[in-house]
């Protein structure tokens, strides 16, 4: 198993109280596999990403659980070693290429830097590899453009650059946090295509974090739905999309617009996410759940494993 997240708990200790951004999440991802973490913004999915790469910043803290990566518990690894793991084995793409590239350095420099960080490469060679990676992700005349600054790049181009930086060092885990959210629809497709292609080429495991179920089908074998810091459902993508079990998943899928659908109005999920610093006693979705029962408000449902390998956290399936 490449990555095994086991009962991960990441809390933020703020002045307003303890915010349980990630509260007992477990999942696993093997080499070459791909998985999506789906959820509304604020549900803790990005915190999972940060927990995996060991960059949960003050006042956040991993308070429980393990993150096994290549058999090593990353929560116990010293920062210096953690940095090496990140540099050698992980590739990241973030949501907003506008702000994630440093405005003060050239594109090539920032890509090359990522190669240098992995170690074992000379500066000149790193630059060449950076240019090659940029070509690989489809940036024309990469040698020239590598000398340009981020503000001279379009959003899509910047995102390609980020992917180039990630793949240039052939990571074993590729984490993409909302990689297309900030982009135009047409560009989105290109970028998704690029991610899929590169993932297959390098046989990298992919952890895709998104709120957009629409893109999950194209990229990931499995999908996990997150709600208020917890996983509520995990299933092969196809099954999830065709037959969501959890009422939240259903609501979420209902929100995905389908081309050709004639619906006058897009359905929405009513209500809002509970305050992570002040969680209800029972099921966290109970307040918004159309099928909520008394027990749902009393007790927190456990994850239930179904025979077909699916997992769901709901009393409806008990």
């Amino acid at each position: 198993m490449l990555l095994e997240v086991d009962n991960l708990q990441t809390y933020f200790f703020t002045a307003g109280g303890v915010t349980k951004a990630v509260d007992g999440v477990s999942f696993a991802l093997d080499n070459g596999q791909s998985m999506a973490l789906v959820g509304e913004s604020g549900c803790g999915k990005s915190t999972i990403a940060l927990s995996i790469i060991g960059l949960v910043l003050y006042p956040g803290k991993i308070v429980g659980g393990r993150v096994l990566f290549d058999g090593q518990d990353l929560t116990k690894v010293p920062p210096r070693e953690m940095r090496r793991v990140r540099a050698r084995k992980m590739g990241l793409v973030f949501q907003d290429p506008q702000t994630t590239l440093n405005p003060a350095f050239t594109i090539g420099e920032q890509v090359a830097e990522s190669i240098l960080a992995a170690g074992g490469t000379a500066r000149k060679a790193a630059w060449d590899r950076a240019v090659a990676a940029m070509e690989e992700v489809g940036i024309a005349s990469a040698a020239e453009r590598a000398k340009q600054y981020p503000h001279e790049f379009s959003g899509g181009m910047r995102q390609r650059t980020m992917i180039a930086a990630a793949i240039a060092r052939s990571p074993s885990l590729f984490i993409a946090d909302e990689p297309t959210t900030a982009l135009d629809v047409t560009i989105q497709a290109q970028i998704l295509d690029l991610i899929r292609r590169e993932r297959e080429r390098l046989d990298t495991a992919l952890l895709l974090i998104t709120h957009d179920l629409g893109i999950v089908g194209e990229l990931c074998e499995t999908a996990a739905v997150m709600y208020a810091g917890q996983l509520v459902e995990r299933a092969p993508t196809a099954s999830l999309l065709s037959d969501p079990l959890h009422p939240y998943s259903r609501a979420l899928i209902g929100c995905v617009p389908r081309l050709g659908s004639r619906a006058q109005r897009l359905p929405t999920v009513g209500g809002s996410v509970p305050d992570l610093a002040n969680l209800p006693q029972g099921c966290r979705f109970a307040d918004r759940c159309p099928e909520a029962m008394d027990i749902c408000r009393q007790d927190m449902p456990e994850i239930i494993r179904l025979e077909n390998g699916r997992e769901v956290r709901c009393y409806l399936h008990a």
């Binding site: 703020t14 002045a15 307003g16 604020g42 915190t47 910043l57 907003d96 702000t99 992570l276």
Partner: protein
């Protein structure tokens, strides 16, 4: 302010920004509360000076000239911090001095902030000729040594408290204007202002609603520091002959008055100096707390 969906801010720190929230957030910063309490203490001291001060701040008694603090040889508990060069009780002068010093700091900083804010916002937001005009004035004033100003103002109006405040304001607003202008310009280019503009919000609403909140944090930091600078400037100005006029006690002038006695009666200028430092420290602690509480970005 586009942010990466990385949980830190968006997931963990979304809270309404009401007055109560602000107060709560401020109160949780222990140092800031200490600062605020100290400031209240100083203000209380200023208000209650006649009841607190053991002696008159202006009553001279040449028999007690340069009397040392109580622990030093020659000191007495009657004048715990000793007496100055005219035998006036030092602690009483410090207590009364808080009135003048706080008044000067508050008046000067509010005036400079206000002028700097308005001119900076206008110059930064509208740009063009207005900006060029304001910027050139700012440049000229900045390039002009303060000493000359102070002397010119005294020359034109004579030395005194009001004129000193005028001199400080005349030059002080410039720094605020520069900072506000720069912040305004960068805020103006940001997405949310573009968005606000595209929605068709009026200039005033954009300035007050969108840009001002971004300017305020740096303004407060600068302002709290300037309080300190102003209190100290008062002593530099008395060094140059534009201080608060005797026998009115003011901390800055007291520090300066004690200058010739540094070798043989260090307390005359040291204790007022300590008072300045304590006030400045508390202003600053509170300022930091204010900034953190005001700026949702910096809140944790």
């Amino acid at each position: 302010m586009s942010t990466v969906e990385l949980g830190l801010r968006t997931e963990a720190a979304r809270r309404p920004t009401g007055l109560r929230e602000f107060a709560r957030s401020f109160c949780r910063n222990r140092l800031a509360v200490i600062g605020a309490v100290l400031i209240l203490f100083f203000i209380g001291m200023a208000l209650a000076a006649p009841w607190i001060a053991p002696h008159s701040p202006t009553e001279t008694n040449l028999d007690r000239r340069l009397q040392a603090p109580f622990w030093a040889p020659g000191g007495s508990y009657d004048h715990p911090l000793g007496c100055d060069h005219l035998g006036r009780d030092l602690i009483s002068r410090i207590v009364y001095g808080s009135r003048v010093s706080i008044l000067i700091a508050v008046v000067v900083v509010s005036l400079t902030m206000l002028i700097g804010l308005v001119t900076g916002l206008l110059a930064g937001y509208f740009g063009g000729l207005l900006d060029a005009f304001i910027s050139r004035i700012v440049d000229v004033l900045l390039a002009f040594p303060f000493l000359i100003f102070a002397l010119a103002v005294t020359a034109a109006l004579g030395p005194g408290l009001v004129n000193m405040i005028l001199a400080l304001v005349f030059k002080g607003w410039v720094e605020f204007c520069r900072v506000v202008r720069a912040e305004t310009m960068s805020a103006k280019a940001s997405d949310y202002v573009l968005a606000a503009r595209s929605v068709g919000l009026s200039n005033v609403r954009i300035l007050v609603g969108e840009i001002l909140p971004n300017v305020v944090p740096s303004l407060i930091v600068l302002g709290t520091f300037n309080m300190a600078v102003v209190i100290i400037a008062e002593s530099s100005l008395s060094f140059l002959g534009l201080g608060v006029q005797p026998p009115t006690p003011a901390w800055g002038s007291m520090v300066n008055d004690g200058r010739p006695y540094m070798l043989n009666a260090w307390w005359i200028s040291t204790f007022p100096g300590v008072a300045v430092a304590a006030l400045v420290l508390s202003i600053n602690l509170m300022g930091e707390g204010l900034r953190d509480a005001l700026d949702p970005r910096l809140r944790d």
